[in-house]
Symmetry: C2
Subunit: 647 residues, 2 copies
């Protein structure tokens, strides 16, 4: 699998091409490009395979100081360095062209396609006197070249950054939404929303301001290339956290479920918030860059953008999730009537297609697909999951688990490789140091003051060691990197990419590795069961959940959350799933005829027992591949009944 | 989901772009292109969703005259027509360019990248006097334009044809290999290899010759554009069969397993054969097109190409499959020792990655990835599957089942849509009629003479009604279409694409729909169980399978097959899986020390019972989503013990 050898083969091949006729050479060029693409993919496939094998060895030897994501980054760095320094095969040829002087050209933007008339009168210096026919080739638009001298377009092991947003991130985010432990999520909703919404915005603002200050102190050439909006954009992209490593250790050590829910829930939501926030900043920049100064209407417009895009994306996702639930409800009803349960393939295909459609619809409507897919995932888990046959449940769960695993490790491998191979890095030591310091400060500003405010109204409060752990879990990951690599047109943006890559690598490897020590140092209790299945409390059913969570932290639920819970359990759950109570019981009297149509006999007849088992919250994973019933200590399941009372 | 509305929105958006500044317009153009891509994907996602929903309704109402692939084609045709005639939004702008006269240009092929200096001195007629900065944009190579006048590059709902070979076909072919019912496959190996290898080559030759004859009879302009190699290429691409619909009905009606195995096995292999064959024809064309005449050395070279590429690809695939088996064997041994069975995710990730690596390695080495992935799938099922935990077995099976389902329906939908939207169709009624007739004749030449020859040495012979059914199952599908759309540079190739599309659509919809009637008309016995799980014959174990199949059609196995069976059951199976007998029993005495190292305690201690259950052949699906034990009549499982004797 040595890439050096492969590149050698390519070089040989390139030379071979030039020695043949033009037509054959053109075919060979297409073949060569295809092989380079395949080789790039092969490099990453081998890296992922290597990561999987190392994880196996590590699990076997019970190594806990390095998580798979850290491993993926390190392998990526090594291979990236090899590719970079192995040999420079500059295979990309380019030529400068201008439009013909007589072209009637009526566009203000560059054309989509250039039709390049390949000349036959130019001298063909290499490979002798080959007759070159006068042909026309199509060239499609790729991007702007900012720095012509420096620019070297390089295909080495790099991908179009848009791939991250359209292929890699959606399954990761969907999986996060699908596997969100909704009970604990809703129980800590106040804290999670505060950290994710207010905290991320605050962190972006603090980092942006501090970085702008730092940049002004730096050499003038650097300072001039950064505007306040640039540093604010940096603040937005470096704010979302991705505590994969920490959560894996939490799961392994069975750390407190509420702490887990807060860290996981925050990281899921702040990805979405940061994405929309950075989009709003860019929109602001685009629209009002002419004036230069700060404009209050423009600023309010950006805030409006943020709220509008976020909530519309949320609605698109939720709508598609509910639509899937409704269709799967009809299929499930059909299954009950006809006693045929042989279509798990159709069910899971529908599930995947509708979820992907949520992403695409949001993108087509210029909303944020990632946000839509997150809320679609949450709705799928909350409603659709209950209607699926047990086979389809396993299928969808395992499919997205696998996709998530591969996508996550791919992105971390890529962060490592691209550190060396991506051509648009710009190493600026001052900016990097400032980035590390301010991103730490930004995380602190997110956690400590907000926790203090939350604790004023929260029972039980978030203890100090939990706050430290929340601060410590501020690893940066996939979303920060994807946002940074998306736009690298200016030197400022390139410096941001380099800094972000380094912050991601450092936090994932170092903080991730030290997570279990941090847990021990902070004396955070471990050994709790996160598995609801063992917590089958007979006195709680869906109705009681809807009317306010019955145990421990009930004080936290706001009136809005209670109202939502009532709507959910009385209207949406009976409408979209087979959960009891049926609509005939919950709807007011004048709606009875409608309710009767919408209720299945199954809902009338089933007992609460069936219901308990079909509720998704007790069934879906958080992070573990799947619960292994034999490995769970029965003692733990008794402990967890005490709820939150151990802190 | 009306695409007309969406295109209207786009048009509006394009107009909006032109009314703004150049920089913003450029950003908007990138956004627009992204949205068009998203919209294209959304159209296909919706079409697939619609197909799934209709399949559900059809299954509910027990409709059997239209299979899901036929449905996908029909929906595709409808939506394609709507997109085509809905409104022409010519969004693609193009401009003609020439290299600057002073360019020192030393390449015989067009460059990879054009650097287009966007002018500021040209008049910007629309959108007023916007100052356009002097910028440089990168344009990447896309392809050759053959007919400048006629050519309209159109992005409407079309994809790069290479997507089929690199993304859509691999999971389909892998799934076919993975789900191949190997016992019946090997029992009918002689017939399958004859039909797939000799038959496909014969069919290609016959179709090619007949088509060349037909073309000579047509108007001179048409005749001139076809060479014999062109028509031979057409013969190669139209020869592979894809009897999905027929097999689905077979599975439903429980048709004779040997007939099933012959049709399925042939269609799996002839895809691979046709792909390599067409590649060899193209290579021949490239290398020796200068001379025009037939050259015996060149012809032998093409045959050498065919054999070399096919067997090397086979080796790459088999090697990667065995490597995966070896690694999974080590993991499984580890699991036995440590009694930890919690890594199904790692196992299935490894499985997917190694299988994909087989494809990529073959592509990088200029072999045929599809062939590699087919034999990788067969090896994965034969060896690796036995080492996987039951959870991983389900995961991999279900994952590839889902991928196969989505990919298959996508390609048939695309065949329908592209009939209207793909810009390079060329309707030539004579060529189309000739194509239909010769492809039918080619199938007849494949089946009847070869069956006659096979029956000379085969016990029991292939009865006449089976031969008719084999002939009838010659539907054309994904592989023919993918090969036809790959190369559409000349008018001849475009006529081939149109004819191929029409043949695929007609055979899938009509022959697929009539399959159950054909079965009844030909009096082919139905109601056999294809499910080995109910056929747990205690007297047969893996050893007896290796030494020659113990029942019915034993006469068919050649000496080579027997030798292979012995190597497989005595060396490879014990080495790569936990199957008995252990190597210590099968290897000669002087190899004992090596054997002892390679044998697990599990292999020593387990009985034949465990072994039976872990053998993959009895467990993997053929086509049904999964066996439903309750729906199988116990009577059938007794019938099947009589083996092949019912004909």
């Amino acid at each position: 699998m040595n890439p050096i050898i492969f590149f050698g083969v390519f070089l040989h091949f390139v030379i071979f091409c030039h020695a043949s006729g033009a037509d054959i050479a053109l075919d060979a060029k297409a073949t060569l490009l295809h092989r380079i693409d395949s080789l790039n993919l092969l490099i990453y496939t081998c890296l992922l395979t290597l990561t999987v094998l190392t994880i196996w060895v590590f699990k076997h030897r019970r190594v806990s100081w390095l998580h798979e994501t850290g491993l993926a980054v390190i392998y990526g760095l090594i291979v990236g360095a090899i590719i970079r320094y192995a040999g420079s095969t500059n295979q990309i040829t380019h030529i400068d062209v201008h439009p013909a002087p007589d072209t009637k050209y009526n566009l203000s933007v560059p054309p989509d396609v250039l039709r390049f008339h390949f000349p036959d009168k130019l001298q063909v210096s290499s490979s002798g006197d080959i007759p070159v026919p006068n042909k026309t080739y199509a060239y499609s638009f790729r991007g702007e070249i900012v720095n012509i001298e420096q620019n070297e377009i390089d295909l080495k092991a790099t991908f179009d950054p848009e791939i991250f947003f359209n292929i890699i991130l959606p399954p990761i985010i969907f999986h996060a939404g699908y596997c969100l432990k909704r009970k604990y999520f809703f129980r800590n909703l106040g804290a999670i929303l505060t950290f994710a919404m207010v905290g991320t915005a605050l962190s972006a603002l603090v980092i942006g301001s501090l970085m702008y200050g730092c940049v002004q102190l730096m050499p003038a050439s650097l300072a001039a290339s950064f505007t306040f909006l640039d540093t604010l954009y940096f603040g937005a992209l470096i704010s979302p956290t991705d505590p994969l490593t920490v959560l894996a250790i939490f799961s392994q050590l069975k750390v407190d479920v509420n702490l887990y829910a807060m860290i996981f829930g925050e990281s899921v939501l702040n990805d979405a918030v940061a994405l929309v926030l950075s989009g709003a900043i860019q929109n602001y920049e685009k629209r009002y860059s002419n004036d230069g100064g700060f404009e209050i209407t423009a600023f309010l417009g950006a805030i409006g953008d943020f709220i509008g895009i976020f909530s519309l994306s949320l609605l698109v996702g939720a709508f598609m999730g509910c639509l899937t639930a409704l269709i799967s409800f009809l299929i499930a009803r059909d299954k009950i009537f006809t006693h045929v349960r042989e279509w798990p393939l159709l069910e899971s295909a529908l599930f995947v297609l509708m979820s992907y459609a949520a992403f695409l619809i949001a993108e087509v409507c210029e909303l944020t697909g990632v946000v839509a897919v997150l809320f679609c995932g949450i709705c799928q888990a909350h409603y659709t999951y209950n209607n699926l046959s047990s086979d389809s449940r396993n299928r969808t769960k395992q499919l997205f688990e696998l996709l998530n695993f591969l996508a996550e490790n791919f992105i971390f491998t890529y962060i490592g490789v691209s550190m060396f191979t991506f051509p648009k890095h710009h190493f600026d030591p001052w900016f990097i140091i400032a980035g590390f310091i301010t991103s730490t400060l930004g995380r602190a500003v997110n956690i400590y003051p907000l926790s203090f405010l939350l604790n004023l109204g929260r029972k039980p409060p978030i203890p100090m060691n939990f706050q430290h752990m929340l601060f410590f879990s501020g690893l940066r990951g996939a979303m920060s990197f994807a946002l940074a690599i998306r736009n690298t047109v200016s030197e400022a943006r390139q410096a941001m990419l380099t800094t972000t890559s380094l912050i991601v690598i450092a936090t994932v490897v170092l903080q991730g590795g030290a997570a279990s020590h941090a847990l021990a140092y902070l004396r955070i209790p471990t050994g709790q069961s996160q598995n609801d299945e063992n917590e089958a409390l007979p006195y709680r059913d869906v109705r009681s959940e809807g009317r306010g969570s019955g145990d421990g932290s009930g004080g936290e639920k706001a009136r809005l959350a209670k109202l939502w819970g009532a709507v959910d359990s009385r209207l949406l759950k009976p409408l979209l799933t087979h959960a009891r109570p049926p609509l005939t019981e919950t709807l007011p009297a004048f709606m009875r005829p409608v309710a009767r149509v919408l209720t299945t006999t199954h809902q009338y007849t089933q007992g609460d027992n069936t219901l308990r088992r079909t509720d998704s919250d007790s069934d879906l994973c958080i992070d573990e591949p799947q619960p292994v019933p034999t490995s769970i200590d029965p003692q733990l399941s008794i402990n967890v009944r005490n709820g939150y009372g151990h802190v």
